[in-house]
């Protein structure tokens, strides 16, 4: 029994923190701001990470990665999220679009897309959710009609609407799920890789408390996709989605930012920290414990993956704990800041990081699969007699 990630992990953590400190000012709160230079900074940082061999550290060497361990990948995820994701929107391509391409892509698709992701030169968005297909993703209605025969020998025409699509306004590529043929539910769902500058794609931002770029509607009006844009088998998209979601559910180390902010709040409020009501101090230590628990549940999932298991239920359990912890910490920090919690920007407490965290945490139990869906997965496993 050993919970030490090892000297290699500690060194990697320090190296990443050094790079972040060198390349971002203290006001950086992520790429999704109204300041275009934040996006530019994150793109430059991705190229820097690529040149240092850190961007695809955990990818297999055969795909241009560093062949690092799942624990290296975990450290990268923790440090990036803790410091407001300085890779910007590219984490999606790195964390699961790339791995999905490795698992299901043709040789040509791998040869074209993987080097772009590995170089830090491309932003991906995912076209999964639709207005009538949220948690029930298999009810999606976007259709792809073949051109030149049933197998799309001459291409495909895509029509439909996607929603909640993060980064659609800044992405160069979209991985989109569309229905082919007359199948119902999971049948017929097919994945396409489509350039976002294709004629017929329209992106409409959705105003939200999360801030700009996070949520968009994307309309596909007679969008042409080339014959080689299908990822995996025609009608085999559900397997790709499951792979993608499995990566995505453990992908965001929300607990790491929680832990960082909890560690900073005392010094931020000094010398008045000790004068706060006792129940705020106990709420703070309770939050520290919850964050530790969430991190350990995430580690359990990584450990299972390391042993070659597919820990769907463990991943759902971890996700429930991590997302609830995200919201709990947001409230504890807001309670500590009291009326100053309403302030945003560089003059706000912790330069606006707490305010930013609270807003983003509100969607934690919805994004990437609602907490209700995770509960259903956990409960069904329990009722089948499996352990959680």
């Amino acid at each position: 029994m050993d919970f030490d990630l090892g000297d290699g992990a500690a060194d990697l953590r320090l190296r990443l923190r050094g790079l972040i400190q060198e390349n971002f000012g203290p006001n950086f709160l992520g790429a999704f701001t109204t300041n275009p230079s934040d996006l530019e900074d994150t793109n430059n940082f991705c190229r820097l990470l690529a040149s240092e061999g850190l961007l695809t550290l955990a990818w297999p060497k055969e795909f241009g990665g560093g062949g690092g361990s799942l624990w290296d990948q975990t450290v990268v995820r923790e440090e990036m999220w803790a410091h407001h994701e300085p890779r910007g929107a590219q984490y999606m391509g790195l964390n699961w679009v790339g791995p999905a391409l490795m698992a299901y892509g043709s040789d040509a698709q791998k040869a074209f897309h993987l080097p772009l992701i590995a170089a830090g030169d491309v932003i991906w968005c995912q076209g999964f959710s639709e207005p009538e297909a949220g948690s029930d993703l298999a009810s999606l209605r976007t259709r792809a009609e073949p051109v030149g025969g049933a197998y799309g020998d001459e291409g495909w025409i895509i029509n439909g609407q996607k929603i909640w699509t993060s980064y659609a306004g800044m992405a160069q590529w979209c991985i989109i799920a569309a229905r082919v043929g007359g199948g119902e539910r999971h049948e017929g769902i097919t994945m396409f890789l489509v350039p976002m500058d294709s004629p017929g794609i329209e992106v409409r931002p959705i105003r939200s408390m999360l801030g700009p770029h996070h949520l968009n509607e994307v309309f596909f009006n007679d969008v042409f996709a080339t014959p080689d844009s299908v990822l995996g088998e025609i009608g085999g998209g559900w397997s790709v989605i499951k792979t993608a979601l499995a990566h995505e559910r453990v992908g965001i180390a929300r607990y790491a930012r929680c832990e960082r902010l909890l560690s900073l709040i005392g010094a931020e409020l000094a010398p008045h920290w000790q004068d706060l009501p006792a129940n705020l101090h106990t709420a703070w230590v309770r939050a520290l414990v919850q964050v530790r628990v969430a991190r350990l549940l995430a580690y359990r999932t990584v450990h299972a993956q390391e042993r070659g298991e597919v820990p769907d239920v463990a991943a759902s359990a971890a996700r429930i704990a991590v997302t609830q912890c995200d919201q709990l910490v947001a409230e504890v920090l807001f309670s500590a800041l009291d009326h100053r919690s309403l302030e945003a920007g560089s003059n706000a407490p912790l330069r606006g990081a707490v305010e930013d965290h609270w807003r983003y945490a509100q969607a934690a139990t919805v994004a990437s699969g609602t907490i209700e869906v995770q509960r259903m997965i956990v409960a069904k496993a329990l009722l089948r007699g499996e352990s959680v």
Partner: protein, 312 residues
């Protein structure tokens, strides 16, 4: 990184599970309440298992075996102070953390002398003279020790006992979820198992996730204690706090899912919930434990990804 208990510890715990089942499982706790002498059966079984020779302070595997055995004891609400008895001195005196105000101990009558100390490290004694047990439904075997002689008790032993008590609670909570799962699968209402109702499923899922988290934290804390000893005080108090909060939520949910049966002693969930109360209230309940943790974290820090008190 390896969060899995060593195989040797798992084997010891498996043997303990079988032995405790042979004693009657939760039934032994039921009988002991009526006839306290039933508890004496346990001593011989612990000896056969080799648990009376196990010292959790000697090496990580012994510590893990002790913890896993305590979880098995908790699973059946074993009416015996196993955690305290595993942390004994050369004279065979068990070690237990007690409240600052009164030296109250569960099953105090089972040993002639005890080593006791407060969780803040402020006082420690050799104590004897167990008074009349409370005899209540929530503390049938709790009594006060009256003869106190100040003495130095290794604080690491107090911390270790509390670590093992949390593992005991973990076992009880794991069984509580198992009992609730069995019940909702078999209880038919409106023509179908109540497990088919989503409101039931969600409660069960939340309870199971809480217990899964407690198990991971218990493993982590075991590793911390085996690595740094009493310097893991904050970690052990954090585990205790989380165990208490988990117990409050999980016992409540699991009783609720049993319906009225949840408060009937015919059902194991009621016995588990009642018999774990002394472990939940002694030496300190939730709020006092949270304050203890605040003090410990302020003094000792809290191991994590970021040092506490850092600057942006």
């Amino acid at each position: 990184m390896n969060p899995v208990l060593p195989e040797e510890a798992v084997q010891v715990a498996d043997a303990a599970r079988r032995a405790f089942a042979d004693l009657g499982g939760v039934e032994l706790a039921r009988h002991s309440e009526i006839d306290p002498k039933q508890r004496e059966k346990i001593v011989a079984v612990l000896s056969q298992l080799g648990l009376d020779a196990l010292d959790p302070r000697t090496d990580p595997i012994s510590l893990a075996a002790a913890a896993a055995s305590c979880a098995e004891a908790g699973r059946v609400a074993l009416p015996y102070p196993l955690a305290a008895s595993l942390v004994r001195d050369l004279d065979g005196r068990p070690t237990v953390a007690v409240p600052n105000s009164q030296v109250r101990v569960d099953h105090a009558d089972l040993f002639p002398q005890w080593r006791v100390g407060t969780l803040d490290g402020g006082a420690s004694f050799v104590a004897s003279g167990a008074g009349q047990a409370l005899g209540t439904r929530l503390g049938p075997f709790v009594s006060s020790l009256n003869d106190l002689r100040p003495t130095e008790v290794n604080f690491g032993d107090i911390v270790c006992q509390q670590l093992l008590v949390s593992w005991t609670l973990l076992g009880a909570l794991e069984n509580a979820v198992s009992l609730a799962t069995f019940h909702v699968n078999s209880r038919i209402q409106f023509g179908k198992p109540i497990a088919t109702f989503q409101a039931v499923q969600f409660q069960l899922a939340d309870a199971a996730v809480i217990v899964a988290g407690l198990r991971e934290l218990a493993g982590f804390t075991l590793w911390r204690f085996s690595s740094v000893g009493e310097a893991a005080r904050a970690d052990v108090i954090a585990l205790r706090l989380h165990a208490l909060e988990s117990a409050r939520a999980v016992f409540r949910t699991c009783q609720q899912l049993h319906g009225a049966a949840g408060v009937c002693d015919e059902y194991d969930i009621s016995i588990l919930t009642r018999m774990m109360q002394p472990a939940l209230r002694l030496p300190a309940g939730i709020e006092q434990t949270a304050e203890l943790l605040t003090d410990a974290v302020t003094m000792d820090g809290f191991v994590g990804l970021f040092p506490l008190g850092g600057k942006v």
